[in-house]
C-alpha cells in the first residue's frame, strides 16, 4: 500500500498545498478580523488537495488490475488522513485566530476532506479517471466565492467568523456535509466490491 501511495500521489501539489494552508492560517492568526476569508479558502484548498489524492491518470490500465478500488482508496486514504492530521496541527498552532472556535474550524476541514474523498471515489467508481481536476477547481472556486463575496451569508453558514457568528448552525451544516460524505463513500465502496465479486 505504501509503495502504491508513494507512486500514485502528486506529492509536489500536496506538499505545496499543505505549506500554503499553513501560511493562510498563520496570516489569519496575525490579522483575524481582516484576513478571515483566508480560513474558508484554506478549507477549500485542503479539500482540493484531498481530492487530488484519488485521481488515476492511468485508469485505463489500473482499473483492469487485481488491486481493486477499495484497496487503492484505502492506500491513498492514509495520505488523506495525514492531510487531516496536518490540518488539525496547523489549526491548533493558530488557535487564537478563531475567536474560541478552533474546534469548529478543525471540524470544517475534516468534514470537507471526507466529502471530497467520497465524491472523487464515487466518480472513480463510475469510470472517470481524474475527477479531481474538475472537483478541485470547483472546491477552491466555491470556497473562494463563499469566503470573499459572502453571498447569502445568513443562509449558507459555512464559514462564520467573530465571537458572535452562527457557529452552532455552521456545525450542523458541516455535520450534514460529513454525513453525506460517509454515506456516499460507504455505498460507493460496497457497490464496487459487489461488482468485483460478481465479475470474478
Amino acid at each position: 500500500m505504501a509503495r502504491h501511495a508513494l507512486r500514485a500521489i502528486p506529492w509536489l501539489f500536496v506538499g505545496l498545498a499543505t505549506a500554503l494552508i499553513a501560511v493562510l492560517l498563520r496570516v489569519v492568526e496575525e490579522w483575524p478580523y481582516t484576513m478571515w476569508p483566508l480560513q474558508g479558502i484554506a478549507v477549500g484548498l485542503l479539500a482540493a488537495a484531498a481530492a487530488r489524492l484519488f485521481d488515476e491518470p492511468a485508469a485505463m490500465v489500473v482499473d483492469t488490475l487485481p488491486r481493486h478500488l477499495a484497496w487503492r482508496t484505502a492506500a491513498r486514504g492514509v495520505v488523506a488522513l495525514g492531510l487531516v492530521a496536518w490540518w488539525l496541527v496547523v489549526v491548533a498552532w493558530t488557535a487564537p485566530a478563531y475567536f474560541g472556535h478552533a474546534g469548529d474550524v478543525a471540524w470544517q476541514g475534516a468534514a470537507a476532506v471526507l466529502a471530497a474523498t467520497a465524491y472523487v471515489t464515487w466518480r472513480r467508481s463510475a469510470g472517470t479517471p481524474t475527477p479531481a481536476r474538475a472537483a478541485g477547481t470547483g472546491l477552491v472556486g466555491g470556497a473562494v466565492y463563499l469566503a470573499l463575496a459572502r453571498p447569502a451569508e445568513d443562509v449558507i453558514v459555512l464559514f462564520p467568523y467573530t465571537e458572535g457568528g452562527p457557529w452552532a448552525e455552521s456545525r450542523q451544516w458541516w455535520a450534514a456535509v460529513a454525513t453525506v460524505g460517509v454515506v456516499v463513500l460507504a455505498v460507493t465502496l460496497s457497490e464496487a466490491d459487489r461488482r468485483r465479486t460478481l465479475a470474478s
Binding site: 501539489f13 500554503l20 496570516v27 490579522w31
Partner: protein, 293 residues
C-alpha cells in the same frame, strides 16, 4: 515553404480562436461565474456604498474562476495537439488563440461595468461613505469599477494562460489562484504599512471603511490613481500574454523577449504612476460611520 506555413498558421489561428472562444463561453465555470455576477446585479446596489464594492463578485467569479478555466483550456489544447500528431500549427498560434478567448470574460465584465455605472448614478452612495468632499470625481469611480470589475475579468484568464504554459504539475492553477488571493488580500490597504505600495497588486481598493482611532468603520480614500491603475493592469495583461508566448521554444524568441522586457518596464512605470499620482495623501471622511454613533 515558410510562406505556406505562415499562411496555414494564419488560417488556423482564425479557426482556433473561434474554437477557443466557444469553449470558454460554454465552460460550466464561466457560466456559473456569469450567473453569480448577474445575481449580485439583480440584487441591486448597496444602500450605503452603491455599486463600488460589488466588484468583488466579477473579480472572483470572472477573474479567479477565469484563471482556473484558462489553465484547463491550455491543458486541453495541448492534449488535442499531441493527439493530432504532426501539424503545422505552432504553440505560439495556439497561445494567441487562447488569449483571444479572453474576449468572452471581457464582454461579461463590460456588461457588469455598464450596470455598475448605472447603479452608481441611480443610487448614489451615502455621505458617510466614499467619495466625499469633492476630493475625487466621477472618473475616479468609473476607473475603480472598470479596473476591478472589468479588467480583472481578463487578468485572471491571462494569468491562467501563463500558468498553463509554464507550470505543468497537477493542481498548479489551484495553488496559483490561492496564492494570488493571499497576496491580494494582504494588499487591500487593511495592513497600514503596505497601503502605499498596494497598487502593484493586480486587484486593490482605493478606499473603504478602513477605520480610524475611535471609529473602527470610518471611511477613507486611499492614495493612488485608479485611472493610471487601469493602464497598469492593461500592461500587466499584455505582459502575461507575452510571457505565455515566450514558452514556445520552437520559434525565435530573441525579439519577443525584448518586447516582453519593454512591456515589463512600461508596466513598472505605469504602476509607479498609479501609486504616486491621483490622490497623494489619505483622506478621512469627516462624517463618522453609523457604528460610531
Amino acid at each position: 515553404m515558410s510562406q505556406a506555413t505562415s499562411s496555414t498558421s494564419t488560417t488556423a489561428f482564425g479557426a482556433l480562436a473561434r474554437h477557443e472562444i466557444k469553449s470558454y463561453a460554454r465552460h460550466p465555470l464561466f457560466i456559473i461565474g456569469v450567473l453569480l455576477t448577474a445575481l449580485i446585479c439583480a440584487d441591486g446596489p448597496d444602500k450605503a456604498s452603491s455599486s463600488l464594492f460589488h466588484v468583488i463578485v466579477p473579480g472572483v467569479a470572472l477573474g479567479v474562476f477565469g484563471l482556473l478555466i484558462m489553465a484547463g483550456l491550455v491543458r486541453r489544447s495541448d492534449k488535442t495537439y499531441e493527439a493530432a500528431g504532426t501539424v503545422v500549427v505552432t504553440e505560439r498560434t495556439r497561445t494567441l488563440a487562447l488569449a483571444t478567448a479572453t474576449v468572452v470574460p471581457f464582454t461579461a465584465g463590460l456588461l457588469f461595468f455598464g450596470w455598475a455605472v448605472w447603479a452608481w448614478n441611480d443610487s448614489p452612495p451615502l455621505d458617510y461613505t466614499i467619495p466625499f468632499g469633492g476630493i475625487v470625481g466621477d472618473g475616479w469611480v468609473y476607473a475603480w469599477l472598470f479596473a476591478l470589475g472589468t479588467i480583472s475579468a481578463v487578468g485572471g484568464p491571462v494569468l491562467g494562460l501563463v500558468v498553463g504554459r509554464w507550470l505543468h504539475f497537477r493542481g498548479a492553477a489551484i495553488l496559483v489562484a490561492v496564492a494570488l488571493i493571499l497576496a491580494t488580500i494582504t494588499m487591500q490597504g487593511l495592513i497600514e504599512p503596505l497601503r502605499y505600495i498596494r497598487v502593484f497588486m493586480p486587484w486593490t481598493y482605493f478606499g473603504g471603511p478602513l477605520g480610524v482611532e475611535g471609529d473602527a468603520d470610518r471611511w477613507l480614500i486611499m492614495t493612488g490613481s485608479p485611472q493610471w491603475y487601469c493602464a497598469y493592469l492593461v500592461a500587466l495583461c499584455g505582459l502575461g500574454v507575452l510571457i505565455a508566448l515566450l514558452h514556445d521554444r520552437e520559434q525565435p524568441r530573441a525579439g519577443l523577449a525584448k518586447v516582453t522586457a519593454g512591456v515589463a518596464v512600461l508596466a513598472l512605470a505605469l504602476g509607479t504612476m498609479a501609486m504616486t499620482t491621483g490622490v497623494t495623501e489619505e483622506h478621512v471622511n469627516p462624517l463618522p460611520s453609523p457604528n460610531a454613533w
